[in-house]
């Protein structure tokens, strides 16, 4: 058959529930839109969706099944499952996208030809946030930055980059870990308060994020000085209290809201006529839009691949197609992404946005920063992976 | 039947001054007894008088806090229960303590444990290693099964057979260890007359066939007077009478504390 198959094998029931619902809804709505607009080069896209429960072996089963059904792209939205599957996708030549999660070192396209982070890695997110502080929020030199993170590899991931920048820019970072899932962090924050940080950077996800911000407020740290990794969304702001969270800043990979042409078309052709994949109020949320953006890039890559190499689309063609994506910004919804066979991150762009009581509002332009430091990390870890092989 | 008169007066098991406390309660108070080779020695007394506790002290479950216990001259009061077992002391329990998950046969085979060399490796190489041992010990077990007439239930799971049979299996398991000394804690509790008679028969047969010395705790006075050579009566952890069964039991103190109405005592 002549459909293109993308496999969205995600964790709907365990650790990533905070994001998966909306993210997956966005992905599906976007694909629905593409299909309604005639597909890619006349071919429809079929989505294979499964829950993996964040369990590596369920992920592997789902992956094997999807591969057999002819999927050319897979998105696990789960660090453990992506990690467990990485060797397989490399062997099978199936494209795996790991937007905003998973291994940052996969940005090294030469080592990971089939893995596409395609958006800012955690390292790039850290540099963007720090650079923003440097340029817009009073500079970094001599400042004290508290890195408060969930005690997991994910939470620790940006630490080396932050430390490198601390050296370069002459500020002090201190790390504060709280145990997962972070529903209770008071001891950690007593310590943070005594550090008297100028800025706090939060590296967590899910329920722990709201707890962090509330603790920050309680400990007298102005919300404006609190920054978060990409995993801070509307729901978190509401859990904190929509008013209390005003001023909170975060890294943003994709614009929110429905004011983009793509979103308008989704509203018009998919959501309004009732073809949407989920509740209407999710449309335009942070994670929904990230979902849309991932599919937009993937579809763009597929479009190029089909144009260049013709049907049928294979994993390898898709990879090459993606590697030819240049300056693609999903009609303004995201920073321009340029992928190449070396760089699967796409530049590491993002921006900082701020909660205004109702929505996240951009407070900077799209930019990237200190990619040299980021790439140092990428190269180092990629080398580690090659050795491990 | 062993000729009681000629039984060697050598004392096999000697308790000297044995005491045991549970918290503030002294369950056994400076008890001294000596049990002779080949005899059936009765231990009786009211409930809670410390009989089981004394036996537990001998078999290492509740090591006496005071006093010594010698078995063939060797002190055993500091040994762990399994070490005591290896010295040649076997016992049954007041409440049947069989291994519920096993068949009767396996329960009795367990009695051979001290003669076997169990290990996971031996099991892995069963056909070269463990099989011979298993079969060799089966023979001894079958002998005991014959002796105690357990053929009919050999392959039954042990928890479905009647209590009387279970007590017999427990006895069989103890006998399989080829002990020199056997302790029976109320082997006839909950049995009717007929079953009691069977049990007595088995005890006597076993004693005769294997040349055992037996320590018997029982509340059935007819049995005690019939088969025990000597008895010790405990009350409140203290020894209140000692001597040939009939005399000890007719001691007024014993009657008052333990027997009650005279005519019940045989």
């Amino acid at each position: 058959d002549d459909t293109i198959k993308f496999a969205l094998l995600q964790d709907f029931t365990a650790v990533y529930t905070f994001v998966t619902d909306e993210y997956n809804q966005g992905q599906r709505d976007y694909v629905e839109l593409i299909n309604r607009e005639g597909g890619i080069g006349g071919q429809q896209i079929e989505l294979l969706i499964r829950d993996t429960g964040n369990e590596p072996q369920r992920g592997i089963e789902a992956y094997n099944r999807a591969r057999r059904e002819g999927a050319v792209l897979v998105d696990f939205l789960s660090t453990p499952v992506s990690r467990a599957a990485v060797n397989r996708v490399l062997d099978d030549e199936v494209v795996m996208i790991t937007a905003l999660h998973g291994r940052g070192d996969a940005s090294d396209g030469t080592t990971f030809p089939f893995v596409f982070p395609m958006m800012a890695t955690y390292w790039s997110q850290a540099t963007v946030l720090l650079d923003y502080i440097d340029r817009e929020a009073g500079g970094l030199e001599g400042k004290r930055i508290a890195h408060v993170y969930i005690d997991s590899p994910f939470g620790r991931e940006p630490v080396p980059v932050m430390q490198a920048l601390a050296e370069r820019k002459g500020f002090e970072v201190r790390t504060f870990a709280y145990p997962s899932p972070g529903n209770e962090q008071s001891a950690t924050w007593s310590d943070v308060r005594r550090f008297r940080p100028d800025h706090v950077i939060l590296w967590g996800a899910g329920g722990g994020q709201a707890v962090s911000v509330r603790e920050a407020i309680r400990n007298g740290i102005p919300v404006e000085n609190v920054y978060s990794v990409v995993w801070m969304a509307e729901t978190d702001a509401r859990t904190i209290g929509a008013d209390r969270a005003v001023g909170l800043k975060r890294f943003e990979a994709v614009g929110t809201g429905t004011d983009y042409p793509v979103m308008q078309r989704i509203m018009e052709h998919v959501v309004e006529p009732g073809h949407g994949a989920g509740p209407r109020e999710n449309v335009g949320t942070t994670y929904y839009n990230i979902g849309v953006a991932t599919m937009a890039v993937a579809v763009e890559g597929a479009r190029i691949a089909l144009e260049e190499f013709g049907a049928p689309l294979t994993g390898d063609k898709l990879r090459q197609g993606l590697e030819m994506v240049t300056e693609y910004d999903a009609e303004g919804m995201m920073p321009p992404v340029t992928l190449s066979s070396e760089d699967h991150q796409g530049g590491g762009y993002g921006r900082v946005s701020q909660w205004n009581g109702q929505a996240w509002e951009a407070v900077s332009d799209w930019f990237n920063a200190h990619q040299d430091v980021v790439w140092e990390e990428i190269k180092k870890d990629a080398a580690g992976f090659r050795e491990g092989r | 039947m062993v000729d009681k008169q000629n039984a060697s007066p050598e004392q096999v098991l000697v308790c000297e001054d044995v005491s045991r406390w549970f918290g503030g309660l002294q369950a056994v108070k400076s008890i001294s007894i000596g049990i002779r080779q080949g005899e059936i020695f009765g231990l009786v007394g009211p409930n809670g008088s410390g009989k089981t506790t004394l036996v537990n002290a001998i078999t290492g479950f509740y090591p006496p806090q005071q006093g010594t216990i010698r078995f063939y001259g060797e002190p055993i009061n500091r040994l762990k229960p399994h070490k005591v077992a290896m010295q040649g002391i076997a016992r049954t329990f007041q409440n049947v303590a069989l291994f519920k998950g096993m068949s009767v046969l396996d329960n009795i085979l367990m009695g051979r444990h001290i003669f076997m060399r169990p290990s996971a490796l031996a099991s892995l190489f069963y056909w070269w290693w463990a099989q011979k041992e298993e079969i060799a010990h089966r023979e001894k077990v079958e002998e005991i099964i014959d002796l105690l007439q357990l053929e009919s239930v050999r392959d039954e799971p042990v928890d479905v057979i009647p209590l009387g049979m279970q007590k017999r299996v427990e006895l069989a398991r103890a006998l399989c260890a080829e002990p020199k000394f056997l302790i029976l804690d109320e082997p006839m509790a909950g049995m009717n007359q007929e079953e009691k008679e069977y049990m007595v028969r088995f005890i006597l047969d076993a004693q005769e066939a294997l040349g055992l010395t037996v320590l018997l705790i029982e509340h059935h006075m007819d049995v005690v007077t019939a088969i025990c050579d000597r008895v010790v009566v405990l009350n409140n952890g203290e020894k209140i009478a000692e001597g040939p069964a009939r005399e000890a039991i007719n001691d007024p103190a014993v009657v008052a504390a333990y027997i009650g109405k005279k005519d019940d005592a045989a």
Binding site: - | G190, E197, Y198
Partner: protein, 277 residues
């Protein structure tokens, strides 16, 4: 022989408290433990159920008191009536409320509770505090020893004391019928006599009917009026206590022969159960 016994049916069928007819019980869906057991207990009556180990005595009691379910047992045939009412559909607590109580084999008191709390636990929730105190005092007059130990954990009581507590606890429900499963099990002779005396007293003073399961047949046959003999899940004989006491089979198997047994010369291969075909 059993026909002859069967003729000696209880005289007073009109005021029967408990009637069990033709009951069959299966454990685990496969094991047939009793096979058509029928028996009756009159008001104020004292009846014994005798039999070898595994004959099905405890099963019979559990059938009456409704305690088969936890052991995966089920009644597959027959009826049990209490006060003229079919009780098989009722759960155990409901049967207790009707006025029967079962003292389980092996005492099974509430180990972590004091004797006093054991009594309280068995006392019906709707009863008044005053009634409780009355009943408690009554139990303590039967068993003065319990009063002394009313505040220690029951798990540390001696066997006899635990048995007393179990009986006393049962009395707290103010039963019309008390079923006792081997109350003499493991008790010293003196205590056996005491317990039996108290059972008789309870029966006579309070007109509580008693259904007694015993291995100690001679003691049981002395105090009961009527007895049933159960073997292998069947009632093989029943009759008045004094009649049964004279029966030679009963004498041989349950009472230790006519005279005293000579244990050293017990015949090795006795024919078991000659009343079975």
């Amino acid at each position: 022989m059993s026909n002859q016994a069967a003729q000696a049916q209880p005289e007073a069928t009109t005021d029967n408290l408990l009637t069990m007819s033709n009951v069959e019980v299966v454990y685990d869906k496969v094991f047939l433990a009793i096979k058509g057991v029928s028996l009756q207990v009159g008001k104020g009556d004292m009846v014994a159920l005798l039999g070898a180990n595994g004959a099905g005595k405890s099963t019979t009691l559990k059938t009456i008191s409704g305690l088969l379910a936890p052991e995966r047992g089920a009644v597959t045939r027959g009826t049990v009536e209490f006060q003229g009412r079919n009780i098989l559909p009722l759960g155990a607590p409901a049967r207790v409320a009707l006025g029967m109580v079962h003292v389980l084999e092996g005492r099974r008191i509430f180990e972590h509770l004091t004797p006093e709390d054991n009594l309280l636990a068995a006392f019906p929730s709707r009863g008044s505090r005053q009634r409780f105190n009355e009943l408690k005092e009554q139990v303590f007059t039967y068993f003065p020893r319990l009063k002394e130990r009313a505040r220690t954990k029951s798990g540390y009581l001696s066997g006899g004391e635990q048995q007393m507590l179990a009986i006393g606890r049962a009395l707290m429900t103010e039963p019309e019928l008390i079923m006792l499963d081997e109350p003499s099990l493991g008790l010293a002779p003196l205590l056996v006599q005491e317990i039996f005396a108290i059972i008789r007293e309870i029966n006579q003073q309070q007109k509580v009917s008693v259904l007694l399961v015993e291995q100690n047949a001679s003691a049981a046959l002395e105090i009961v009026r009527h007895a049933y003999l159960i073997e292998n899940g069947h009632v093989v004989m029943d009759g008045k206590a004094e009649v049964l006491r004279q029966n030679p089979d009963v004498q041989e198997f349950y009472l230790g022969g006519a005279g005293k047994v000579d244990y050293h010369n017990v015949k090795h291969y006795r024919r078991r159960k000659r009343w079975l075909a």
